[in-house]
C-alpha cells in the first residue's frame, strides 16, 4: 500500500516538474524573459535586477534550477498591467472562481451521477433517452454557445436574470447553471455506460439468480464497482475546474481566474499566465492524488500486497 502511494506521489511530482519545465522552455523559446515578464516599459534597473535575480546571464542549466527555486519561493514575477505580484493577482481571484465552480461541481455530481445510474437501470425508458439526448447535447454544444443561449433566453428575452458582472447572487445563477449542466450531461453519459458495462457482467446475473433482491444487487455489487471509473472522471473534472471556467467567466464577465487568464493571454502578461498555469497543474495533480487515495479504499484489489497493478 505504501509502495502504491509512493509511486503515485512520484508521478505527481513528475507531472509538476514537467509543467514547470514546459513553462521554462516556452518562456525561453519566445524571447527575452526579463523583458517579457517585466514588460518593455519597466525601468532598466528593474530589468537588470530581474536578470540578476533569475540568473539570466548564467548557463541554461543553472537557469533551469534557479527557475525551480524561484517558483518554489513564490517569486513568479509581476503583472505587466499594474506591477503587482502575479501571485497576489491570481490569489485574489480564486474565491470568485470557486464561487462558480464549486456549486457547478455539486450540480454536475448531484444531477449527473443519479441521472446516469437511473438511465442505466431503466434502459430504454423515457428518462434514459432524455439522458442520452442531454448527454449528446452536453458534448456537442460548447459552453460559450450554451452560455449565450441562456443569456439570450433569460436575460434578453425574459429579463429575469442579469447577463454579466458580479453584483448580486443573481448574477451567479446563469454561469453556475451553464457550467453545471454541461458537465452533468457528460457525467450522466459516462456513469450510464459504466453502469451498463457492470450490469452486463456475469457476477451481477449470478447474484440476481441467487435470489438477491435487485435493489441489493445494485447497491452492493453494481454501484461500488461503478464508483471507481466515476471517481476518476470526477477527479478529472475537479482538476480542470479552472479550465472549464475560462470560457464561462469570459462570457459573463465574471472576475475570476479564468477571465484573468484570457485577459493576460491577450495582453501577453506572462507572469500571470505562468502563475495560473502552475496553479492549474497543482490543482490537477492534487485531485489526481486524492482520486488515487480513494482508489485505495474503493478497490480492495489494490490493498493486497501481492496484487499486480
Amino acid at each position: 500500500m505504501l509502495r502504491f502511494f509512493a509511486l503515485r506521489l512520484g508521478r505527481a511530482l513528475l507531472t509538476i516538474v514537467l509543467v514547470v519545465t514546459f513553462a521554462f522552455v516556452v518562456l525561453r523559446l519566445s524571447g527575452d524573459p526579463a523583458l517579457m515578464i517585466m514588460g518593455p516599459e519597466a525601468p532598466p534597473e528593474v530589468i537588470a535586477a530581474f536578470r540578476k535575480a533569475w540568473g539570466l546571464d548564467e548557463p541554461i542549466w543553472i537557469q533551469y534550477f534557479d527557475y525551480f527555486g524561484a517558483i518554489a519561493q513564490g517569486e513568479l514575477g509581476r503583472s505587466m498591467r499594474d506591477g503587482r505580484p502575479a501571485i497576489a493577482l491570481v490569489a485574489e481571484r480564486i474565491p470568485a472562481t470557486l464561487a462558480l465552480t464549486l456549486p457547478a461541481l455539486l450540480i454536475k455530481v448531484g444531477l449527473g451521477i443519479p441521472a446516469g445510474i437511473y438511465a442505466a437501470l431503466h434502459r430504454g425508458s423515457a428518462i434514459d433517452r432524455a439522458v442520452m439526448v442531454a448527454a449528446v447535447a452536453g458534448f456537442t454544444v460548447p459552453s460559450f454557445v450554451l452560455a449565450l443561449l441562456l443569456v439570450l433566453i433569460f436575460a434578453v428575452q425574459l429579463g429575469w436574470l442579469p447577463s454579466g458582472g458580479q453584483d448580486s447572487w443573481r448574477h451567479a445563477i446563469l454561469p453556475i447553471f451553464t457550467l453545471g449542466v454541461g458537465g452533468a450531461a457528460v457525467l450522466a453519459r459516462f456513469t450510464r455506460s459504466a453502469m451498463l458495462e457492470i450490469l452486463g457482467q456475469h457476477y451481477i446475473r449470478t447474484a440476481s439468480a441467487k435470489g438477491v433482491p435487485w435493489r441489493a444487487v445494485v447497491t452492493n455489487h453494481a454501484l461500488p464497482n461503478a464508483a471507481i471509473p466515476t471517481v476518476t472522471i470526477v477527479g478529472f473534472m475537479v482538476g480542470s475546474l479552472i479550465a472549464g471556467a475560462v470560457v464561462v467567466e469570459s462570457v459573463f464577465s465574471w472576475p475570476g481566474v479564468g477571465r484573468l487568464l484570457v485577459v493576460a493571454v491577450a495582453n501577453r502578461d506572462l507572469a500571470v499566465v505562468q502563475c495560473i498555469l502552475l496553479l492549474v497543474a497543482l490543482t490537477m495533480v492534487t485531485s489526481n492524488l486524492i482520486v488515487d487515495f480513494l482508489y485505495g479504499f474503493l478497490d480492495p484489489r489494490l490493498r493486497t500486497r501481492t496484487g499486480s497493478a
Binding site: 509502495r3 509511486l7 500486497r305 501481492t306
Partner: protein, 329 residues
C-alpha cells in the same frame, strides 16, 4: 561424416523476474545445459510437458533469443546477432512454425500475398514470377489457387497451418523448427498435416526440429527423439528404440500414457507430485519428487549423461555406472 547442420552445446536460458517493485529476484532456468546435434536431412523430435523448455530451446537454436550460456551453431557458424542484416538473411535458411496459425497470419492480406511475402523480403526471383512460385508452394501443401485468394479468417485451422507451412518453405530453407504445429488442430486434421510434413521432409530433404508434447505425432515424424524435463534433456535415442524401450523413468511414464497398438499394454505409470514448475526447481535431479524409482542420491546430485549404447543417452542415476538398462520394478 558431414558436420551436423544444427549444433547445440550446453545451451542455457535464464529468465529473471522480480516480484513487485522491491521484491526478490527469481531466476527461472528455462533451458539448463541442453546439448544435441541434428544432422542434415534428419528430424529430431523434442518431447516434454509445458514448462519443460522445449519451445525456448527451439527459439534459441534459431537465434530468436540470445543464449545465456553455451552456444548454438547453424551450419558450422555461430548465430548472428538478433535483428542484424546477417540474422535477417539467415531467416531464408531457417524458419519456424507455431501452434497458432491464425496468430501468425495477417488477417488483412490474402493467403497468396502472405505466402509470396518471403520472396519479396529476400528478393528471390523476379517480381513478375513470384506469384507463380507462391501458387506452386500452395500446391505443394495441397492448397489450391482458390484458397490463395481467401483471407486467413476464411480458412479452416488445418488449411491455415498448411498456408503457414507454405510460407515458411517459400525461401527453401534448410532447417525448419515446428513448435507444436498440430496441437491446436482436430485429430483428423492433425493426421493430414503430419502426413504432409513427412512428405515434404522427404521431398525437400528438410532438417527439422519437431517440438511437441504428443508422443504419437513425434514418433511419426522424427527419426530421433529427445525428451526434456524442466529445462534439461533426460533421454535421447532413435524414435523406435525410445518408444520400444524407454530408459528414463519419465520417458517410461510418458510412453505408458500414450496408447499404441501392438504394444503389450503394461500398467500405466502415473506420476505423483506436483507438475514441474521452472521457477521452483527441485534440488539434485529435477525429476526426483515424482520419480517412482527415486533413490536418496537423486535428491542431492544431478545425474550426468551416460550412453548405454551408441545411439542412446540418458541422464539418470539408475544408469550412472554405465550398466545398460537396469530394469526397475
Amino acid at each position: 561424416m558431414t558436420a551436423p547442420l544444427v549444433q547445440a552445446r550446453g545451451l542455457k536460458k535464464i529468465y529473471v523476474t522480480r516480484r513487485g517493485l522491491f521484491g526478490r529476484l527469481s531466476h527461472v532456468r528455462a533451458v539448463d545445459d541442453v546439448s544435441f546435434e541434428i544432422a542434415k536431412g534428419e528430424t529430431l523430435g523434442l518431447v516434454g510437458e509445458s514448462g519443460s523448455g522445449k519451445s525456448t530451446t527451439g527459439r534459441l537454436v534459431l537465434g530468436f533469443e540470445t543464449v545465456d550460456g553455451g552456444e548454438a551453431k547453424f551450419d558450422g557458424a555461430a548465430l548472428p546477432a538478433i535483428g542484424s542484416d546477417a540474422w535477417r538473411a539467415q531467416r531464408a535458411r531457417a524458419q519456424m512454425i507455431y501452434q497458432d496459425p491464425l496468430g501468425a497470419l495477417d488477417r488483412r492480406l490474402t493467403i497468396l500475398q502472405q505466402v509470396r511475402e518471403p520472396l519479396d523480403i529476400h528478393s528471390i526471383g523476379d517480381r513478375a514470377g513470384r506469384d507463380q512460385v507462391a501458387l506452386e508452394l500452395l500446391r505443394s501443401v495441397d492448397l489450391s489457387a482458390e484458397h490463395g485468394r481467401r483471407y486467413p479468417g476464411e480458412l479452416s485451422g488445418g488449411q491455415r497451418q498448411r498456408a503457414v507451412l507454405a510460407r515458411a518453405l517459400a525461401t527453401r530453407p534448410d532447417f525448419l523448427v515446428c513448435d507444436e504445429p498440430v496441437s491446436a488442430l482436430d485429430v483428423s486434421i492433425q493426421a493430414q498435416v503430419v502426413n504432409l510434413l513427412c512428405d515434404l521432409q522427404a521431398k525437400l530433404s528438410l532438417t527439422m526440429l519437431f517440438i511437441s508434447h504428443d508422443l504419437r505425432v513425434v514418433r511419426q515424424v522424427s527419426q530421433r527423439v529427445a525428451v526434456m524435463y524442466l529445462g534439461q534433456i533426460v533421454e535421447t535415442g532413435s524414435a523406435d528404440d525410445l518408444f520400444a524401450e524407454p530408459l528414463h523413468p519419465y520417458t517410461r511414464a510418458l510412453v505408458s500414457a500414450s496408447p499404441a497398438p501392438g504394444r503389450r499394454s503394461a500398467t500405466r505409470i502415473v506420476l505423483q507430485g506436483d507438475p514441474p514448475n521452472p521457477a521452483n526447481r527441485p534440488s539434485g535431479c529435477a525429476f526426483h519428487p515424482r520419480c517412482p524409482n527415486a533413490m536418496p542420491k537423486c535428491r542431492v546430485e544431478q545425474p550426468v549423461v551416460s550412453q548405454p549404447n551408441a545411439t542412446r543417452s540418458v541422464a539418470c542415476h539408475l544408469y550412472a555406472d554405465g550398466e545398460a538398462g537396469r530394469s526397475a520394478a
